[in-house]
Every structure is written in structure tokens, then in C-alpha cells.
Amino acid sequence: MTPPAQDSTAGAKSYLVAETTWSSWLMTSDHKRIGIMFLAATFLAMLLGGVVALILRIEHLTPHHTVVDAMTYNRLFTLHGVIMVWLFMIPAIPAGLGNFLLPLMLGARDVAFPRLNLLSFYVYLLGAGITLSAMLMGGTDTGWTFYTPYSATSPTAVAPVVAGVFVLGISSIMSGINFIVTTHALRPRGMGWFDMPLFVWGIYATSIIQVLATPVLGLSLALVVLDHSFSWGIFDPARGGDPVLFEHLFWFYSHPAVYIMILPAMGVISEVVCTFSRKNPLSYKAIAYSSLGIALVGFLTWGHHLFVAGQSAYASGAFGIISELVAVFSAIKVVTWLGTMYRGSIAFTTPMAYVFIFLFLFVFGGMTGVAQAAMSLDVHWHDTYFIVAHFHFIMVGGTLTGLIAGLHYWLPKITGRLPNERVGLIAAALVLMGFVITFVPQFLLGNAGMPRRYYDYPVRFQALNVISTVGSWLLSSGILLAFGSLLHAAFRGPRAGSNPWGSRSFEWRTASPPITANFERPLDLVPGAYDYSVVNPHD
């Protein structure tokens, strides 16, 4: 294995080789190494969650028993949700790429609290460990949403799973605090809020949500354990409790949580679009403000998960219209990204290919969200495969493509090596094709009335299920190819210079990979992070 690239300037070694002992990694306070460790851990989580998904889809090849029994299936879909949401989606881009890039984009040496950063990684590992141990105990079958009173009565390992997620939430809050303070306080003189790269805005908005919403998740989970293991009956109607109250508490966190999952990916898209169009964003402020808008207004929409739960019509109406409004922010971003390409100089590289995939899938998936907020439609779609397709369009079609785009884009910065374009584009094509074949049938299944979390389904739904399963094989091969190619390139790809893409963003104004202290000379803020109308003296 050839050693990773060394810094080209005299003397200083890159962060990858500066120290190579185990403890220099495991006890590091270097945000770059912590970022890589998060990427590695979340990648493993993604693989595990993906394998579970493949099993679920294989089970759906036939309407009745195929490979597992009902209870196993129910535990598996719960495991899939828990792993994908809390072990993968929520930490991957913020704690992975965000950790790596934030200080670099701000010209800083590290994040505000480097040791808290390391602690957040170990808390993540602890939470992941507890959750996976719970899996070995058989896990639980409540779904990742843990609705009461079923979660209080299910004869499964509810408490350990919930405990694991609780600990993961603590890690999330730690990351959030770190990034907020970093953004506020570690910008150099001369870099105002509107001079920062847009990815920072994405992470910043995400961090606000993490810090304010996750405590309520912690509370909800604690209450589930109290109900389940100590029979407190907080949500037990026979004891004067209200099951719908749990739904309110849970979704108060979990709706903003989906914005935790998408905002960082949107940040990646902003960066990739500008770099590979060699162009300033059509409206920097539109993207920046819409990130904040999504974060803040996203806190007001949770009741759209309760349209058929017995919530008052008045409340439902309010949540419905606010949900329509929050979509406007995303629409603004999409138009701004498109407009950024106008009169640009577009290079169709792998990251850019993923941007196109993102644009198409996210618009479609997002619009189905707008459709659901037209409430009578949600009455039909709620808890069917339509909803499953909707959120997979956003999570896989949005977040995962954003992650893969970001990994390809920043691979040179992280490892000093270039990704393989040809394999990357082939993988992107496989991902797009596989995705469409997997999830478009699920919209149709939902329309036809197939509910979600169904082990057994009416025979008339079989054809679409089979198509979806075949799609899942294509999709997973595309994802494996993409990540495989990235891993290969990380160790054996051609060496990159400090700025192989010719980007103006600040992280490219230092070596690829950077030295441990990130910058050898103070970051020069001229030209700006998106100024492609002037020559870049730094290349």
C-alpha cells in the first residue's frame, strides 16, 4: 500500500502521516482525523442498514413467507430504520464531512472544542454499541417511531434499543454545540457571515436543530423506557395517559430530524454546483437564509404526522399550511442551484453527476411532501408505501447522493488522491437506475393502498414488489461500486495538487491533504469563496 500523499511544502507533514501510532488516531483532537473516523463508522452503519434493507426486500418477493417469519421481519424493519436514521444519516455528513471541512473552510486550526469533538465520537460509538447489542438480544419490533402503547407492551428488547439511541442523541448535541460555536467565533477577521462557504451555513443550520430538538427525543425515549420497563403508564389510557401525546413529543424532534438529515446534503450540493460550474451562486443569501428558514420553520410542522391520529382539525390545518410553507425554502434552493449553472462553465464530473441526480430525485421527493401537506391526500397515503417512497426519495435520493457527491468532491482534500471518474460515473448511473426502479413502484404501491410495515401483503401487490426488489439489487450494487471506488482511490488513486478542481472555496487554499494545523500561512480571503470572475492567484 503506497503511503498517502505528503504535503508538498518544505518540512510539514500532512495530517495523515504526521503521527501514525494507534493512539495518535484514537486519542486525536484533530478534527480531520475525527471526521475520518466518523465517516468510517457511519459507512459501516450504512452497510449494515443496507444489508437489512436487502433482506426486507427479498422477503417481499412473495406475498407471504419468503425468507423470514413475521416477528423477524418486524424486528428487521425496526433495525433498518434505527440504524439508518441514527447511526448513519444524522451523523454522516455533519460529523463526518462537516468535522473535516468546517475549520478548513473558516481558515481555522480546529473546531472550538477539539476534545469535546473526540468525546462526541466515543459517545457515538457507545450509542452504536448499545443499539447493536440490543440487536443481538433480538432488538425490538416497534418501528423506529416507538409508538405507545405498543412500545410499552411489546415483549421485545425495547429498553436497550432506546437506550442506545438516547446515547447517540447526546453525541449529536455535542457536535451541534461544537459547530455552532466554531461558526460564530472562529472566523478570521474579514470573513463575515456572508463570506463563508455555503456548506458552513448548511452545517450551522443543522446544528441549531440538533441542539434544540434532540433533548426532546431524549425525553421521549426516556418516557418509553419508563412506560415499558417500569409500567408508569404515562401513555397508557387505562392509567389516564394519552398515546397521542407520545406522538407529539416524538415528532417534535423527528420532523426537525429529517432536516438534520437533508440540510448538510444541501450544503454539499451548493459547494459542488458552484465549483463544477465555476460560478458564483445565483443568490448566496437565498441559500443561506433558506437554510435557516428550513431549520426554524421545520420546528413548526410536526403535526403533519398526526393528520389521522385524532388531532384537532384546527391544529391539523395549521400544521398543513406551515408544511406547505417550509417547502418553499427548498424550492428556492433548487432554483438557485439551477440558476447558478446558467452561464457557468460546467464540467460533468462524478460529483456533478450526483448533483443532477439529486436535483431530479429531491425535487420529485420533495414535491410529494408538498402533496402530502394537501391534507386530504395524506389521509389516503399516510402509513402506506407512498410515504415510504417519499422519504426514501429524500433520504437516499437526497442525502445519500449528497454524501457520495461530497466524498468524491473532497476525496483529494482528505487523502490527496483523485477519485476514478469513469467508475464514478458508472456507479452514479447504476445508483440512479437502481433507485428509480426500487422506489417509483413504491409510490404506486402506496397509491394502490399497500400499508407500510407489512410482512404479509395482498397478492395483487406482488408485481410491483418484485420490481422494487430487483431495483434494490441494482441500487446496492451502484452504492457498493461508488464506495468501493472511493476506498480504492483513497489509497491508490493518482495524486492530486492542492486544488484539482480549480475551486475558489477556502478549503482548497491549502495543501491536499492539509498539514495538521490546516494552514501554513494565514488564509487569504481574496478572491471570495465564489468569485470565479477573477483569476485565482492561489493555484
Binding site: G107, R115, V181, A185, A213, G240, G241, E520, R521, L523
Partner: protein
């Protein structure tokens, strides 16, 4: 806390460690406030649903303990605030005395709380008994244990934090900023108790 405070490469330490700490503590406290806000919301929902039971519920607790604890915490907040003032004006010794007073009062709070908890257990009204109560009362007592328990854990964490800060002030010449963020944390814990007190000890039967 790490000594690695970030500098920009133009040689000026623009990000002062202190402003990082203040901002970090503010964000953390916002997070904590959301945690307790969720619990207070639960209480509110419970009270609306079971007005009679929640009113009767205050009789399950020792009002004198709750009231004494309120005075104890309020005094301790005064102590820590004065400690910051003293440290700022240079009197390290009196600041440390005041921090010690704060910690002693915190311990007194925990002692009184522990006494009350033990009294609950003796009355058969402990956390395990929640399941046996009637509807309404079960929710009230469950919330009581949840909220006062979570609060007590935060008091314990606060005491550890104050102890650490006191050590730093005494032996590492820490400045008033570190003590200030500890004081902020302590004030939030106190403030939360000030809301717990009426809800669980004072708001008895409302006349028809």
C-alpha cells in the same frame, strides 16, 4: 478544558477561549432548557387532563422540604453570582469561599431531597409505586420522579463542575470567565427548580 484554543493564522488570537466558553455554555443551556421544556409541557398536558388528580397530587410531597429547597437554591445562586463579582474584582479568596458556600448549599439541597425521597419510599410512594396509583395520580407522581430526578442529576453534575472550577481558580489561576459560565449553569438549574416548586408543591386544589 483544552488549552488548544484556535488561532487564525494571521497571528491574532481572535477567538478567545473565553468567548468560546461563553457561547458554548449558552448553546448547551439552550439545549438543557429544551429538555426541561418538554417535561413541563408534559406536566401541562397532564394537568389539563387530570385537574383534580394533579391538584391532589401536591399532598403526596413534603411542602416544607420543597420550600426549604427553594430558599436553599436561591441563596446558592446568590452566592455563586457574588463569587463571580468577587473574582472579577480580584478577591480570589472570598470568591472561593462563596463557591464553597454554593456547593455546600447544593449538597444541602440534595440532602433535603434525599430525605424527602426516603420519606416517599417509606410511605410506599416511591418510583416503583407509580404503576399502582390511580390514573392522574400515577401521571403526577411519575412526572414528579422524572422531573425532580432529572433536576437532581443536574444538581449533582453542577456540583462536580463547580468543584472543578474551584480547583482551577485556586490552583490554575483561572479567570472569572470560567466561573461565570459555571454560574450560568447553576442559575439555570436553580431557575428550573423555581418552576418545579409551585407545580409539585404549591398548586393544590383550585376552588370550583
Amino acid at each position: 478544558m483544552t488549552e488548544l484554543f484556535a488561532e487564525t493564522q494571521d497571528g491574532v488570537a481572535l477567538a478567545e477561549r473565553d468567548s468560546l466558553r461563553r457561547l458554548g455554555m449558552m448553546v448547551f443551556l439552550a439545549s438543557e432548557a429544551m429538555l426541561f421544556a418538554g417535561m413541563f409541557t408534559l406536566y401541562a398536558a397532564g394537568r389539563i387532563r387530570h385537574p383534580q388528580a394533579f391538584a391532589d397530587g401536591v399532598d403526596h410531597n413534603l411542602r416544607w422540604v420543597g420550600t426549604a429547597n427553594t430558599y436553599v437554591l436561591l441563596t446558592s445562586s446568590w452566592c455563586i453570582a457574588m463569587a463571580v463579582v468577587r473574582l472579577r474584582s480580584g478577591s480570589r479568596r472570598s470568591a472561593l469561599l462563596l463557591v464553597s458556600a454554593t456547593m455546600l448549599l447544593g449538597l444541602l439541597f440534595l440532602g433535603l431531597k434525599g430525605y424527602e425521597y426516603q420519606w416517599h419510599l417509606a410511605e410506599g410512594d416511591g418510583p416503583m409505586a407509580v404503576a399502582r396509583h390511580d390514573p392522574g395520580i400515577a401521571l403526577f407522581m411519575g412526572l414528579y420522579w422524572l422531573m425532580t430526578g432529572t433536576h437532581a442529576l443536574h444538581v449533582i453534575a453542577g456540583l462536580i463542575f463547580l468543584g472543578y472550577v474551584a480547583w482551577r481558580v485556586a490552583y490554575r489561576q483561572a479567570n472569572d470567565r470560567l466561573l461565570e459560565v459555571a454560574a450560568w449553569y447553576w442559575h439555570l438549574v436553580d431557575l428550573i427548580w423555581v418552576f418545579i416548586w409551585p407545580l409539585f408543591y404549591l398548586l393544590g386544589r383550585v376552588s370550583r
